[in-house]
Symmetry: C2
Subunit: 229 residues, 2 copies
DNA sequence: CGCAAACTTTGCGTTTGCGCAAACTTCTGG
DNA sequence: CCAGAAGTTTGCGCAAACGCAAAGTTTGCG
């Protein structure tokens, strides 16, 4: 077990109101694990045996259609809980979680969930806020998919990624994990071809710089404009 | 105040595990109100002053884009709680609720929420199950919007409506509240024209019968097939 | 009873973005 | 250092669905 201490969890939403001993106790019951890029943390429809906290990296939450197409529902940034099926009364995971970059997660057996909720004041509340945010995001996704054109959807998707995991570099803001055109297409409900064409065009205009698996937004302001009113 | 008794709430999820006196107490604090078709129960981004239980009718949960287009996120069937922003740590409503048919709702001031959760065992759990179901539905919507063609989306939307509020009639199963092509288009992210064309075609094939504001699915099995694998 | 409003149908031209195909570039492992 | 895998670019043709327009139908209200 790697050395972990209270200061790690302290700033994160579900733990912010707990005292050191509580956090210590929670930490002691956790398992830490490193994930390679592309590896699966848990799979849709399997028994929700654990819930997770992402310490480092980014998780892609995907669903796979009967035709085998992948759809990315959500990206989880470092510092958030995920796989918390139990909080919504489910006993299987509703989607698959894939590591978008290498990363580290803590996990606890799901059976501890109810105890944490009962024992630690504010734990549930903070968790439900996170879920609330995700519901909001999903809602926004539905609205976007219903009303916007591919160009706007891709612009917004990039902005979301930048906001969640952007790193400042000299040329602009870079998305903090490796991402392919295919990935972007799965987030926006389009094809990698269309994404490629669009990114090429944007690069010519100086809006972005894109290398293999890497996208840097140079002109966020103009990107926002493209994203729609 | 109309006469309400325990038997009304008893069978509904959040109350199923409470005893008569608890339900009585909850009921005593509620306000009952009738809504006309098309009237707004609450509006997006306004302070979440109440939460609601739909006793009769159907609620359409919509978001309005900056361009003024409406997108229907969800339909709430009779018997469910809604407007429970508080449960997800929000203090404003994330969407607008419109009565799709006339109906009756009970409401409580939001400040009572935390008390209910604390006081009544199982109340929160059951509520979160409902939310979990809705999250699942939204997820499915995203996947559909990403991967399916208009025809499939409309087929599925109709099936969802039929499942939620279908009434058996001699010709098939009829959607239990008035619904226009416009409404269907707002559920599926398309235009009323496309919906009209498609429904006309389906009617010619005997798949459905549609009158003004009324749709009856005659051949649900074939409709499922149209909805995709 | 008649008019206006709400809802529906249908036609036609246009466009967006997909599907397919092929070539090209960058990485990785032996 | 080379071969193959993984990722990207680009061209071309096509079909789904939109946008616009106009006319038809049903309903409710005065």
């Amino acid at each position: 077990m790697p050395k972990l201490d209270e200061s790690l969890l302290r700033p994160l939403p579900p733990f912010s109101k707990l005292d050191d001993s509580a956090i210590r106790a929670i930490l002691d019951q956790s398992t830490s694990r490193r994930f390679e890029k592309g590896s699966t943390v848990f799979e849709e429809a399997t028994a929700a045996e654990s819930f997770f906290l992402l310490l480092d990296g980014t998780i892609r939450v995907v669903r796979i259609t009967t035709e085998g197409e992948q759809v990315t529902a959500l990206h989880i940034p470092a510092g958030q809980l995920f796989g918390i099926a139990r909080a919504l009364g489910r006993d299987t995971y509703p989607a698959t979680a894939v590591a978008a970059s290498e990363g580290v997660v803590l996990s606890w057996p799901t059976r501890l969930w109810d105890g944490f909720v009962a024992q630690y004041e504010g734990f549930a509340t903070e968790t439900y806020k996170t879920i609330g945010d995700r519901v909001g995001e999903m809602n926004t996704r539905i609205v976007e998919m219903s009303t916007q054109h591919v160009e706007q959807r891709i612009a917004r998707a990039l902005l979301r990624l930048v906001k969640q995991s952007g790193k400042k570099v000299t040329e602009g803001i870079e998305i903090g994990f490796p991402i392919t055109r295919q990935d972007v297409s799965e987030m926006t409900g389009t094809t990698l071809h269309t994404v490629s064409r669009l990114l090429s065009a944007w690069e010519k205009e100086g809006l972005i710089i894109s290398k293999r698996k890497k996208i840097t937004v140079c002109d966020p302001h103009r990107m926002v404009t493209l994203g729609g009113t």
